[in-house]
């Protein structure tokens, strides 16, 4: 892993900053426009979740190389309240904030690999990877 870059999420505008960072990184890795849109949307969802539920957190964008494949890794971490029921959150249409409830399952579909680690009262770390084909 190389080229670590990260954005702290405090305000709604930091979401835009994280997105921009992700888009630039994805572009430089060589993703096409469709995958760029997927990656930026995924970052947007994860960053917004941090902003909405945890208040503050951090988005890291990493360039990944594994098995002769290049990829991009998004790590969204916060020290917020944590997710009470991860399985429920991964269902379409479940939302505690009156949203569409499509964010988390959406990110899983937008990316190739998706991993949630959450402990109540401690925080949440979500790692998502997209491989370059």
């Amino acid at each position: 892993m190389e080229c670590r870059s990260s954005v702290d999420i405090f305000t709604e505008w930091d979401i835009v900053a994280a997105r921009q960072l992700g888009r630039n990184e994805a572009k430089s890795i060589g993703f096409g426009t469709v995958d760029q849109a997927r990656i930026t949307t995924a970052i947007s969802e994860l960053a917004r979740n941090i902003y909405l539920y945890a208040g503050k957190g951090n988005i890291k964008i990493e360039r990944t190389y594994d098995n002769n494949q290049y990829g991009i890794t998004i790590i969204a971490s916060d020290e917020g309240p944590g997710i009470a029921d991860v399985r429920k959150v991964m269902n379409d249409g479940y939302s505690t904030s009156g949203g569409l409830g499509a964010g988390m399952p959406g990110v899983r579909r937008l990316m190739d690999e998706f991993n949630v680690q959450s402990e109540q009262g401690v925080g949440t770390t979500i790692t998502a990877v997209k491989w370059l084909r």
Binding site: A102, G106, R109
Partner: protein, 275 residues
């Protein structure tokens, strides 16, 4: 005492500057000292030193006009606030050292000098930080206004048909504005069909989609129809991946096709005139 200090600084200005430049070059992040030609550095440094010492010669009290002048000039150098702070710190450190070396300051009067010193340096620093803060606030405010101007106006294109082109990021504040403008506009312009054009929206995530759906619902409640136009292929794919249902309203890829649909809905069409 001030005069003594000023005199000492002026007599040793060259060596102060030399040491100061040398130390400032160690401040890594600042490109100023690495890329600028030497003469310019020298000129700017001299100006900086002059500004720093200008209030020493005359009186103990700081002349507000002079201070404002100083701040304005420093801001205009284009230095970062961190760098300016470091500059002042280094400058005062070095002058102190030199005065010690020259014997102006010794054990007996060091306390007194410290007092004069801080009286001399602090106003400069405060004023600069103030000026930067004001400058920043101004920029942010202006950008906010510029963004507000970009936000969402409903344009009547044909009778009964209005278009709202959306450009840029949609945040909560803008989403509210979009909703208000769209509803106001529909009533005022007696629109029957509203085309929401998202060609200029870089990312459509669930929040943006949610706001669009809400706006469309509200438009339907007041008796008009909302169409979502300008969906780029990559946006279409992400919307599908996110699993967002946009079945309730018509969507098209371009504004042009949306307009054709809208005309059809209001029982009209555009025909070419034969000569």
């Amino acid at each position: 005492m001030n005069k003594k200090m000023a005199k000492c600084i002026h007599e040793n200005l060259d060596s102060i500057l030399e040491r100061w430049e040398y130390r400032m070059k160690d401040v890594e992040e600042e490109r100023f000292f690495h890329f600028m030609p030497d003469e310019l550095i020298d000129k700017t440094s001299r100006e900086f030193a002059e500004l720093m010492t200008s209030n020493l010669q005359y009186s103990e009290a700081i002349n507000p006009e002079k201070l404002a002048d100083f701040t304005e000039k420093v801001v205009r150098f284009g230095w970062s606030i961190k760098f300016v702070n470091k500059s002042i710190e280094n400058f005062s450190d070095i002058t102190f050292e030199i005065m010690e070396e020259e014997g102006v300051i010794d054990q007996s009067n060091v306390r007194e000098y410290m007092k004069t010193f801080s009286k001399w340096i602090s106003p400069h620093r405060n004023s600069i930080i103030d000026a930067y803060a004001v400058e920043w606030e101004r920029t942010v405010k202006l950008q906010r206004i510029a963004l507000q101007e970009l936000s969402a106006s409903l344009i009547p294109v044909f009778e009964k048909i209005s278009v709202m082109p959306l450009v840029g990021t949609i945040d909560t504040e803008r989403a509210k504005l979009i909703m208000e403008n769209i509803l106001d506009g529909v009533v005022k312009q007696r629109a029957e069909v509203v085309l929401l054009d998202i060609t200029g929206v870089p990312v459509v995530d669930t929040m943006v989609a949610h706001h669009i759906i809400q706006a469309a619902d509200a438009v339907r409640l007041i008796g008009a129809k909302c169409m979502l136009v300008g969906i780029r292929p990559e946006i279409a794919q992400t919307i599908v991946a996110l699993g967002i249902e946009l079945k309730d309203f018509t969507t098209t890829s371009t504004l042009q096709r949306g307009m054709q649909e809208a005309l059809k809905l209001t029982n009209r069409k555009i025909v070419e005139v034969e000569n």
